[in-house]
Symmetry: C2
Subunit: 238 residues, 2 copies
């Protein structure tokens, strides 16, 4: 099964200014297409940190998805960091330049030096298109680099990345609310997990006003097994 | 300056089922009290993974804040993982047992074997109290372990952790919306960053309906400097 890591880059996440929703979006999509996200890390806009993380995770996982830090300002250091991680030079990508020219020309905006920076990509990388603001992301080896703005990132992921990656076998999932506290059902749940080792049972306590309960999530590659456990749990607790 | 790492534990985050808000809460609070969060990682409910992450991050940072996986069910493996990371045994903590007994007695709920599991903590760890469901978190060396349920985690952090940790020097911050796209102001912003190296300038593009703009965040330990740059930017762009 394909395994993936997500790297979210940005000081704004680490200072709490911004709630990261990008990793949740990617994680959900990966789950849908049968790719297992094994870790998510958030790091600062610091070249060395990014470099270190990319080198390590690109070796460990089939895919590394990166968001943030590919814009035109001084704090956008992701592209440079990734180029140096793979010992590649930043070179002017003609297709990227063309896209930017067309985009800014149409809007009567100057394609100045800062914006041109976005057309310099690691050598031998492939563009990830961005219909919203034209600035492209890129792919290098098993690393996919996307913008940090959620609308742009989502477009890049669903329109350009998903069609290009090999989907895994779908993981089926059902979940069920039990209106008993976790501690009351723990033993039975554990036995169930031991009995059905081809499924994964997750248990998530909730408090909704006065109501205390547990949401049980059943996951498996075998649809029949998910349904079987689902009805077993229904019988046991409801 | 104190530096911290946050470890979020849970399959539900990695599958996209749950949007992690805990790390954002901790990051915000840390920023407020002058502690720098340098990294956030999300990992699965797998003992070995947790162990590895804790050993590594506890060495690198002043504080490690952990959320998730300390409940009574089979997928709660955090406590065990951390005990083995520090080569400690899990022993019955009398105070934890007492708190659980009192809590369940009052509610006429059985303190069964699954629930008693929560009273077994690594030897020589200190309790982090939890007024909501009584099950305690714990501190071992520089590692603070909290529940994953947001309301409980927040209570543990603000009521019991914050009063115990040494606050850093406050970081002052102001932000300002510029109604120009990032690419137009990048050069000027870069010069400003170079001129004022004791401050950190972050630049975050936004799209709000038809409006394109940039939110600039100014951060520094020097309040006067933050204000100075704020008014400089106001004059330059507004």
């Amino acid at each position: 099964m394909s395994e993936a890591a997500i790297i979210v880059i940005g000081n704004e996440i680490l200072s709490g200014r911004t709630l990261d929703r990008n990793s949740n979006f990617i994680a959900k999509r990966c789950f849908e297409i049968g790719i297992k996200v094994s870790t998510i890390i958030v790091i600062a806009d610091i070249k060395k940190e990014i470099q270190k993380a990319v080198i390590k995770l690109a070796k460990l996982y089939d895919h590394v998805f990166i968001t943030g830090g590919i814009g035109p300002t001084h704090d956008d250091v992701t592209t440079e960091a990734i180029a140096s991680a793979f010992k590649r030079k930043l070179i002017l990508n003609k297709k990227a330049k063309e896209l930017l020219e067309k985009y800014y020309d149409k809007r009567n905006i100057e394609l100045n030096e800062s914006r041109m920076k976005m057309a310099y990509l690691p050598s031998n990388s492939k563009l990830i298109y961005n219909p919203i603001s034209a600035a492209p992301g890129f792919k290098i080896k098993n690393v996919w680099v996307m913008a940090g703005v959620p609308s742009i990132m989502q477009e890049m992921f669903t329109s350009f990345i998903e069609p290009q990656i090999k989907k895994g076998k779908k993981i089926y999932t059902r979940n069920i609310d039990i209106f008993e506290p976790e501690g009351d059902i723990a033993k039975k749940l554990e036995l169930l997990q031991k009995k059905f080792s081809k499924a994964e049972l997750g248990s998530y306590p909730f408090i909704r006003g006065e109501t205390v309960g547990t949401n049980i999530v059943i996951k498996s590659r075998q649809k029949v097994l998910v349904n079987k456990i689902y009805f077993k749990i229904k019988l046991m607790f409801q």
